[in-house]
């Protein structure tokens, strides 16, 4: 009895052992490749030179999220523009540009131009009309042209002043107004800048439509430029607009449209544009704005105290004939030629005026 029982129990034990062993094998089987792999690695590493350059285990991770090798777009449960980007490299570039380039160089640039204008004014004084006023008036700008000009002026300076306050206020106005006072000013400036901003597009478009006709460069402009625009004495002939005025027009067009496009990108931040595009827009916006503001100093100087008789062309629409002869002789000749022609036609018709002569005011 006991023998059979022993035999039975021994067989039973064997079977259990087998089961356990096979179970262990099955469980351990997936690990075999790792063991081999580790062994192989051990062999190679023991063969290789012993001191290995110690790297942070996460080095690739950090290179990736720092966008060192390529742009790595992650994903996040927090939905939003750029929320998947852990580290945005352009932020630092943008900060450098704004604090170390735009602000100082913009200020130097503006100061340099203002100084140059003041020096020029002290040296040359107001450019008088040669031969005084003739009393004869020539129509220079139509009502629409003048309206568009002053509309653009108003918008430009509202935006220019608010923009400059936002750019330089921290260093110029905080010492004067205190942090709280300047915060109110800056908030007002930001809201004005954002709200009035889109109107500048309207202004630039109006200027484009109304002024483009006489602003294409031609051969006469080259002589005008080579002679320095008569700035150093001597007479240079010019058509309705001289090369300087044409340059100003095209500067306004190019930088004006750049300002509008980048401004709209910055203003309406709800269309999913990321920080990179906005930082780039801001760079273009800042450079364009400072160029236009600076060049406008020259434009204002020449239009007001620099040259006698210029401003009235933009306020009343009429300039003195002597002014036209001395500054825009080609235009004056053209005007008088067409006037004579019209006079001839009128005389040949020799009837009472059925249609009143179109006055610039009624345009």
């Amino acid at each position: 009895m006991t023998g059979i029982k022993d035999k039975k129990s021994a067989r039973m034990r064997k079977a259990v052992y087998c089961c356990v062993l096979s179970l262990l094998f099955v469980l351990a089987a997936p690990l075999i490749p790792y063991v081999i792999d580790a062994h192989a690695e051990d062999v190679t590493s023991s063969k290789a030179n012993k001191p290995v350059a110690l790297q942070h285990p996460g080095i690739n991770l950090w290179n990736d999220v720092r966008q060192r090798n390529e742009v790595t777009q992650g994903s996040s449960q927090v939905k939003g523009v750029d929320s998947g980007i852990l580290i945005n490299k352009t932020g630092e570039d943008w900060r450098r540009f704004r604090m170390e380039m735009l602000m100082p160089y913009g200020a130097y640039f503006m100061a340099a131009i203002v100084t140059a204008i003041v020096l020029f004014f002290l040296l040359r004084g107001k450019l008088r009309l040669p031969g005084g006023r003739s009393g004869e008036l020539v129509c220079r700008f139509t009502l629409n042209q003048r309206t568009a000009h002053w509309f653009a002026v108003g918008i430009f300076w509202l935006l220019g002043i608010t923009g400059l306050i936002l750019l330089y206020g921290r260093f110029v106005l905080i010492p004067l107004l205190g942090a709280d006072g300047f915060s109110i000013t800056a908030s007002a400036c930001k809201e004005m800048h954002n709200l009035i901003g889109p109107l500048f597009l309207l202004a630039v478009l109006a200027l484009l439509v109304l002024y483009i006709k006489d602003n294409f460069f031609n051969r006469d402009d080259i002589t005008w430029i080579t002679k320095g625009g008569g700035m150093f004495g001597g007479h240079v002939s010019a058509a309705r607009f001289n090369a300087g005025e044409k340059t100003w027009f095209w500067l306004v067009m190019i930088f004006g449209f750049l300002l509008c496009i980048t401004g709209l990108i910055l203003d309406f931040s709800v269309f999913g544009q990321g920080r990179e595009i906005m930082a780039l827009s801001h760079v273009i916006h800042g450079i364009s704005a400072l160029i236009l503001i600076t060049v406008s100093f020259g434009h204002i100087y020449l239009g007001t105290i620099g040259v006698e008789g210029t401003l009235e062309g933009m306020t009343t629409g009429y300039v003195d004939a002597n002014w036209a002869k001395s500054h825009h002789d080609l235009w004056y000749e053209e005007m008088s030629a067409t006037a004579e022609e019209q006079q001839g036609i009128k005389q040949s018709v020799a009837s009472s005026s059925t249609k009143p002569a179109s006055s610039p005011a009624g345009d």
């Binding site: 290995v52 110690l54 996460g58 690739n60 777009q73 449960q77 852990l86 580290i87 930001k190 920080r275």
Partner: protein
């Protein structure tokens, strides 16, 4: 003086977004504002890692450098905070910050940005400590109670650490050494480099 820092251990973060939820709940931030977010890279691929990111409280903070109204200040603990009464919502800090920490209340078309909101390291703001004003504007002030930010306090895997930079780096150094070998296939295994944990 202690210098407060966050540290997120990519080897431990499991993208549970608990820190995000904890932050939102503790500070009762407005809709659309997430002071903290978890970013996963290589999602679903080998080498997937997640990191929780918020304001890093930089020592030379870019946001403070570009702010046109100078509304940022650094506390004695090295926490970067800002004054919402001064902030004009221009968004410059948002362009300058590498981590995307500055947040603006969700905007509709044509709306100008509201006041900026960002992680305060649960240290409130310039208002009187524990006042209702402070809570509505900046959220909870746990630092004044001697507690650390809730996101790190409740992190289930202790991936997100907050506290004194020296203490954090000690903890992290120990972790790296104890880990012995990186489970990543990327790096060199420390053990083989001759460092035994």
């Amino acid at each position: 003086m202690a210098r407060m820092k966050f540290y997120c251990d990519a080897e431990r973060c499991i993208e549970c977004n608990g820190c995000v939820t904890a932050c939102k709940n503790e500070n009762e931030v407005p809709w659309g504002v997430n002071r903290r977010r978890v970013v996963t890279i290589k999602d679903g691929e080998p080498g997937e890692r997640s990191l929780s990111v918020a304001c890093m409280h930089c020592s030379d903070a870019p946001c403070a450098a570009v702010c046109p109204v100078d509304c940022f200040y650094t506390t004695d603990d090295g926490i970067v905070l800002h004054d919402k009464d001064t902030c004009i919502g221009c968004g410059y800090c948002f362009y300058a910050c590498p981590f995307g920490a500055p947040q603006f209340p969700s905007s509709v078309a044509f709306a100008s940005r509201g006041k900026m909101d960002k992680c305060t390291f649960c240290a409130g703001g310039p208002e009187e400590t524990h006042s209702a004003d402070e809570f509505t504007k900046y959220g909870s002030n746990r630092i004044a109670e001697g507690k650390l930010p809730l996101c790190a306090e409740m992190c289930s895997t202790k991936a997100l650490l907050a506290g004194d930079a020296d203490v954090l780096s000690d903890i992290y150094r120990k972790r790296v050494i104890n880990r012995g070998a990186s489970v990543l296939n990327w790096g060199v295994q420390y053990k083989k480099a001759g460092i035994d944990g």
